[in-house]
């Protein structure tokens, strides 16, 4: 289990490491934003020191319905002993790194935020499994694949 923390505004934060393809990982504080469907988002100026390399653009849908392009890069995130590569959205301004739902999905984590207890926990997300039901009697596959014998029709 990994733990984060609340800041004085009551926002949940998590420390992860981020790096580009040729740079050393750098510790980064991320604001957990479940309204963001992506992996990570960060101010453009923060991407240079991390050695992130631009890949191009994508359109982002904002809460007010606006659709706007943003620059993107691929970056490596290290957290709780795991490493994953994801698309990082670059914002033209701001000073926060946002951690979105795709980050949790990629790392197989579920978020347990308790503002009352001031705890932020990331727990392994259980993989849903369906019970495997074994038949009580194993069918004879040869019998199943053999077409039934024609029955005589009576008139």
């Amino acid at each position: 289990m990994a733990t984060g923390y609340f800041d004085s505004n009551g926002d949940p934060w998590l420390e992860i490491e981020i790096s580009g393809p040729f740079s050393n990982p750098s510790k980064t504080q991320c604001l957990i934003d479940t309204g963001f469907t992506g992996f990570l988002s960060m101010p453009f100026l923060s991407a240079f020191p991390l050695g992130l390399i631009l890949t191009g653009t994508m359109n982002i849908v904002f809460a007010n319905g606006d659709i706007q392009p943003r620059l993107t890069c691929l970056g490596k995130a290290i957290f709780d002993g795991q490493t994953n590569v994801g698309v990082i959205v670059l914002e033209p301004q701001g000073n926060q790194v946002l951690l979105g739902m795709n980050f949790l999905r990629k790392f197989g984590m579920r978020l347990n935020v308790d503002p009352g207890e001031s705890t932020v926990e990331l727990l392994p997300s259980p993989i849903p499994t369906l019970p495997i039901q074994q038949p009580l009697v194993q069918p004879n596959m040869q019998e199943l694949s053999t077409p039934p014998a024609p029955t005589e029709q009576q008139h």
Partner: protein, 91 residues
């Protein structure tokens, strides 16, 4: 050659609309496509990273516009744009 994010995205959207949209939205809804805005080649993936990874392998210096097939944007954010389009020049 340099492109601003707006020009790069517009070019990618134009290529998508004219050449690929009808086919991809019928055959690959929900998948991701990285469009090389210079060559107009496309690279498909079930995740954004897969599509971009394929694209970079084929064209390491390419500029790609990423689209989620059938969606207005690749990602959603929970805040408003504030009317700033975040346009600037790169490369």
């Amino acid at each position: 050659m340099g492109y601003s994010p707006q020009i790069s995205a517009d070019r990618g959207e134009q290529i998508y609309q004219q050449k690929y949209k009808a086919k991809l939205e019928a055959e690959n809804p929900g998948q991701y496509v990285a469009i090389d805005i210079d060559t107009e080649n496309i690279y498909l993936g079930s995740t954004p990273e897969e599509a971009l990874g394929k694209a970079q392998k084929q064209a390491p210096r390419g500029q790609f516009h990423l689209i989620r097939i059938g969606s207005a944007g690749v990602y959603r954010v929970g805040y408003s744009s504030g009317g700033q389009n975040g346009d600037w020049l790169f490369r």
